[in-house]
């Protein structure tokens, strides 16, 4: 590279020299275009390498999803809730082998005969990271806060809505009295916070828990530092009752670009990368010291239609397309989606075709439509459905709406998710055949139009917990926003009486078989409302460096995922490889070398362009 940069400086005859420089400038500009991800990849890890030198082992995990809030009362995104799993204890946890409930903050629990009073025995060997003992009083305060302050119920309010009273008769006993029976009492996914810290907080809707570090908690890790979209750093909690984690530091480092994260993994700057593309996984599989984990995921990936956004007060809002309120239109759209092709082409086999709602991994709750109920891929039937419903094609082959104008829908897509864009291309063509136009609107943050109801269709997806209560609750009328100005926990404004009554029944059903049956009926009802089309259950496609991580627990243990588990198992169990401690240095210097190289390339490009410009200026200024 140095040799090349000298070419324009060497005196030569006029014309060829200029041509050479132009060629160089143009070529390098393209080089800078393609080198950009590499540049971002190498710029960030320099800091990581430095940290590694301070002694000890660091486990660096590449993440891309932004933190919505570090307050457990507000956080809903997967990254945030995964980190809360590490920093706080929950009453119960899930076994990594088979996801059955195991003791966590509570060691044992029992319910009264009428199932309305639950008594939890709180463990004695849990202390907050500031040294104070963690007691039943903290748990009681957490639940009471969520019951009395609607702002504290934003994220997990569905768990406490049915609580009548929560008390702590002594430091080791927690008593919860219910209004009516509740099936999720051994799956309360609510982080317990320290009362002595949180009772000083004023407005729970605004407090994001990111002012003072380290953040007081009693989980296996303690959050020590956080910079928005840069990193979250955690240190092990040495006094954690299950045993301290093996790594000396856990860092979640932000890579907004997937390829940059993979490059960082290859260079050893990060030890773990989730959400790989099929091409990345295929390339990483052949590399030394890298293990690719391809496991059935716990997510569903769906198309959601705007059912006419509305609030609890009955007012409607947003600008969803009126034609989508017609079940025939929705049915036709879904009939024209070839889910098998999407799994085959977009996910390249790293997914399972979408069926009902919950992923097949949760076997006891899994339901899929059979026979006449099932909406298979049938474009002819889709066209016929539209014809029969009175949506005729005009001379240009465009399907006309009831107002006589061509049907054109918008779909809200996550600009950071390549799958959304890829599926969008297929939808455009499939629906184009039906004569329906589709505009793919990709945004970095889809929250704003989503909350305002300003969308026709949207790409939707949720991670499902072993207990499906939460992902079912987000389709009930109770989660609609109070007024059009508020934000509700609702997924996409679905409100259906039959679904709600089934939800209420499953919530009070303690018999697991009967509850599973009710959950299946709910999925059936949700399927029939036709507001959602679950297209696929994407696999967890992730990779880690075996020269950094000697062993790590997947969940479920056989063919399970590492990122986004229900519990802290993966990071808590990760054992550093023997070579991990000192390996930061070597790769650090090579990364520095690459960084210098890329930097030099950028300087040369900038210099070349500048030279070009000044020469242009010179000729222009010579003009009369």
């Amino acid at each position: 590279m140095v040799m090349v940069t000298k070419v324009p400086a060497r005196p030569r005859s006029g014309r060829p020299r200029r041509a050479a420089r132009l060629l160089l400038a143009a070529g390098l500009t393209t080089a800078s275009l393609t080198a950009l991800p590499a540049a971002t990849a190498t710029a960030a890890p320099a800091a990581a390498a430095e940290d590694g030198k301070s002694g000890g082992t660091t486990l660096t995990v590449a993440v891309s999803q932004s933190i919505d809030s570090l307050s457990p009362f507000l956080a809903q995104k997967l990254t945030s809730t995964s980190i809360h799993r590490l920093a706080y204890e929950y009453l119960t946890n899930y076994d990594p082998k088979d996801a059955r409930t195991v003791p966590a903050f509570a060691t044992e629990w029992s319910s009264s005969a009428d199932k309305l009073t639950w008594t939890y025995r709180i463990r004695e060997d849990s202390t907050w990271s500031d040294g104070k003992p963690a007691t039943a009083e903290d748990a009681a305060w957490t639940f009471n806060k969520m019951m009395t302050d609607p702002n504290a119920a934003t994220a997990n309010g569905s768990f406490t809505a049915n609580f009548a009273e929560v008390t702590a008769p002594d430091a080791r006993t927690l008593v919860i009295r219910l209004k009516k029976p509740q099936a999720t009492m051994t799956a309360l996914d609510v982080p317990i916070v320290p009362k002595h810290v949180w009772e000083k907080v004023g407005d729970f809707s605004k407090f994001n828990n990111d002012r003072q570090f380290p953040i007081v908690g009693n989980g296996p890790f303690v959050i020590t530092d956080f910079k928005v979209d840069q990193y979250i750093k955690l240190k092990p909690n040495k006094t954690f009752w299950r045993g301290a984690p093996k790594f000396d530091e856990l860092v979640f480092k932000y890579y907004k670009d997937g390829d940059a994260a993979v490059a960082a993994l290859q260079k050893g700057e990060v030890s773990f990368v989730p959400n790989l593309t099929p091409a990345q996984a295929a390339a990483l599989k052949t590399q030394k010291d890298i293990k690719v984990n391809d496991a059935p995921g716990r997510r569903f990936y769906a198309l959601a239609t705007n059912p006419g956004a509305r609030a609890k007060d009955g007012r409607t809002f947003g600008n969803g397309h009126p034609a989508l309120l017609d079940p025939a239109v929705r049915k036709a759209l879904f009939l024209a989606v070839d889910r098998a092709t999407l799994v085959d082409k977009v996910f390249q086999g790293h997914a399972v075709e979408g069926e009902g709602y919950l992923p097949p991994r949760f076997g006891s709750y899994f339901w899929k439509p059979e026979g006449a109920q099932r909406r298979g891929y049938d474009p002819a039937a889709a066209a016929k459905t539209l014809d029969d419903a009175g949506y005729r094609k005009n001379g240009d082959g465009k399907r006309l709406g009831k107002d006589g104008r061509p049907l054109n829908f918008r779909i809200l897509c996550h600009a950071t998710d390549p799958n959304d864009k890829a599926v969008g291309k297929y939808l455009q063509e499939w629906w184009g055949e039906l004569g329906i136009g589709l505009t793919v609107e990709c945004l970095d943050s889809v929250s704003d139009p989503w909350v305002k109801g300003d969308y026709d269709l949207a790409f939707d997806g949720w991670s499902v917990n072993p207990d499906p209560d939460y992902v079912l609750s987000i389709h009930t009328c109770g989660t609609l926003p109070a007024t059009p100005k508020d934000t509700g926990a609702t997924d996409n404004f679905i409100c259906d009486e039959e679904f709600d009554s089934l939800y209420a029944r499953q919530a009070v059903e303690y018999d697991t078989a009967k509850r599973a049956d009710l959950v299946k009926r709910m999925q059936s009802r949700l399927y029939d409302t036709g507001y959602m089309n679950v297209m696929a259950y994407p696999n967890a496609l992730e990779a880690y460096r075996t020269d950094r991580i000697a062993s790590i627990t997947t969940m479920p243990e056989a063919a399970g995922n590492l990122w986004g588990q229900d519990g802290y198992w993966s990071w808590w169990s990760a054992v550093p490889a023997a070579s991990a401690a000192g390996s930061g240095d070597g790769s650090g210097s090579s990364a520095a070398g690459v960084a210098i190289g890329v930097g030099a390339a950028v300087v040369v490009v900038a210099g070349g362009l500048l030279l070009l410009r000044t020469r242009r200026r010179a000729t222009a200024d010579d003009r009369e």
Binding site: L33, T34, A279, A422, T619
Partner: protein, 294 residues
């Protein structure tokens, strides 16, 4: 009168071509442009609009180059060679439109400011300076983010951010032209502002504008590619920058699929180079002082 004017114009065009022919680099640029334009214009017959279709894609995902797909396939199994040719249409179109828009704004502002002078000129030129010191790419990114994602947004974003240089050049030329005696004569004969600007100033700044447009196109194509690469273009339209972005999203960089990355990058470089070579040749032909000794 008109035939005389045409005679004169034909003569000057012939003179222009004679001088242009002596610039070998300019000829190479022109030949390159003609070739690329031909490929882009005949694309509907050679590769067809069907090449964009993901549902009818002929290959499997990310195939290496073969006889069937000389440049391999993308993640949907579409032929990359076909996409490259089809993408030339959007890249060239956006480049041309954006450059024309930018030069049109610049010429209008420049001629008005140069002609009227005084405080309006000062005000307009301060606005121009403000745009001149704004980093073009940053401003274009902001515009492309705020407005909805479409090809026209990109054209607008590039056009609005890159006009100040033209405005400054044209204003200087306008002032120079207006100081000539024949403008005074035209005014004395009763020529109004509009007459002077349209009939005397504009034809004289036209050569400058032409050269500026040619050079602006290569910048516009590069900016379009950059915006598309950063994911700010229309994701449903195939363009060279968009192909680079698709390649990045498919993980082609880290998995070493160079045949996905290199061709669009080289194509961008070649087109930008061709336009620059032409533009510089035109510039040196039209500027007598530059022409000597080169």
């Amino acid at each position: 009168m008109t035939s005389l004017a045409w005679e004169r114009r034909r003569g000057s065009a012939a003179r222009f071509w004679r001088t242009y022919r002596t610039h070998r680099a300019g000829l190479y640029g022109l030949a390159g442009l003609a070739l690329i334009a031909l490929l882009a214009l005949t694309a509907p017959w050679t590769v067809g609009a069907d090449v964009q279709s993901v549902t009818n894609a002929p290959g499997t995902a990310l195939e290496s180059p073969s006889t069937e797909f000389p440049l391999g396939t993308d993640q949907f199994g579409r032929s990359l060679l076909g996409l490259l040719i089809w993408g030339a249409r959007i890249s060239l179109l956006v480049g041309l439109l954006a450059a024309v828009l930018s030069v049109a704004i610049g010429t209008l502002v420049g001629v008005l400011a140069g002609h009227y002078g005084g405080w309006p000129s000062t005000v307009v030129m301060r606005i121009t300076d403000w745009f001149l010191v704004m980093p073009t790419l940053v401003l274009a990114i902001v515009l492309a983010t705020v407005l909805s994602r479409s090809m026209w947004t990109v054209v607008l974003a590039i056009g609005i951010t890159s006009w100040p240089t033209t405005a400054r050049l044209v204003r200087a030329q306008t002032i120079a032209v207006e100081s000539r005696p024949y403008i005074e004569r035209a005014t004395a004969l009763g020529g109004g502002h509009r007459h002077v600007m349209a009939r005397h100033v504009l034809p004289n700044v036209m050569p400058l504008v032409l050269a500026q447009t040619t050079l602006g196109i290569s910048t516009a194509i590069l900016t379009e590619a950059t915006l598309a690469f950063l994911g700010l273009g229309d994701p449903t339209v195939v363009s060279w920058g968009g192909m680079l972005q698709d390649a990045r999203e498919a993980g082609a960089v880290s998995s070493g699929h160079w045949w996905y990355l290199a061709p669009p990058g080289i194509a961008i470089a070649l087109v930008a180079l061709a336009f620059t070579l032409c533009g510089r040749a035109v510039e040196s032909v039209l500027n007598p002082r530059l022409g000597v000794g080169r």
